[in-house]
Subunit: 194 residues, 2 copies
Amino acid sequence: MPSPAYVSLPQLFSFSAGVRGEWSIVSVNAVTGDSLAAAPRLEFTSGEVDPGANWTLRGFTSNARYTTRSELATLGAKPAPLGRASATRAALIPIAKSAAWWVLAQDTRREILASASQHIAIGSEYLPAIARQLHHSRDLGEPFDFLTWFEFAPEHEQLFEQLVTRLRTTPEWRYVEREVEIRLVRDRRQATDR
Amino acid sequence: MPSPAYVSLPQLFSFSAGVRGEWSIVSVNAVTGDSLAAAPRLEFTSGEVDPGANWTLRGFTSNARYTTRSELATLGAKPAPLGRASATRAALIPIAKSAAWWVLAQDTRREILASASQHIAIGSEYLPAIARQLHHSRDLGEPFDFLTWFEFAPEHEQLFEQLVTRLRTTPEWRYVEREVEIRLVRDRRQATDR
């Protein structure tokens, strides 16, 4: 059976940088292209965001767009839910791909992402230590195409860094024209709606 | 080169049934599951809808999700833009697929849609007579997953009916749990924003 993350209904989430939220922003670094403004805290919510936030990015969870049956089986065997008590470190990585990516046919995008770049295989190597949740933004007219949220324990911080470093050297990343890495620490426990 | 329909930025559209719009509603028929309320006219817009409309369905155009390079080439060779002066007939077909569809992996969905059901091949047979534009709704939390808009000349009405009848007999349609067919006539010329 696939992991529940792949079968639930799409849901819209907001990532809002300001003074609210259980996550403290440690750093905001531009990997490619323009950065985002710094802020003390990040709120990750499916509800209303602070209208006074420095910036808010929105994205929806959805069905898997590339993942095959055998890959789903591999991923499902190593469930890594969000919100684990041990996962007090997180990263939000907003990415925009170029028009050259979006003009490609499905089979070409799959070849680049999965066969040439091993995106799904690389990610699954780091399960269950590094939990990931993809949010789609492009179809909302947002500045980024994807918002990937990572959660992990402090002792897995280097694993996280290894994972994103490996992905950034793949052929798929030639199509990334903007990427920002926001690192976070959970230092305030609050009721979460997800 | 793929057709421009596949390369443009995602855009949100609303289909709003009430007293506004250039399209007169001829019929509203439930093919599977519950129908939608009748109304005199349908407005198809990327702008504000009438707050007093009987119902409004929203969806966004996006990149192709299943189409391969060779299929894009076939489709691109027979461009069928929306808004042709001769295309005074239209249909809006909102569809919801079952949870059993959405839990499937990408390769399984592609096999059912393209290999077993010939969805893309069947559609391309009717180009350029029957223009189609797919709008994605599921990720917006809407009641339907897809809103497909068809435009054609009055003399191609039977071709349209043949096209949808063929699609409804495919294995893919076993996953359709709600489908409504709204038939329309353009009897009012107005500035269009698309």
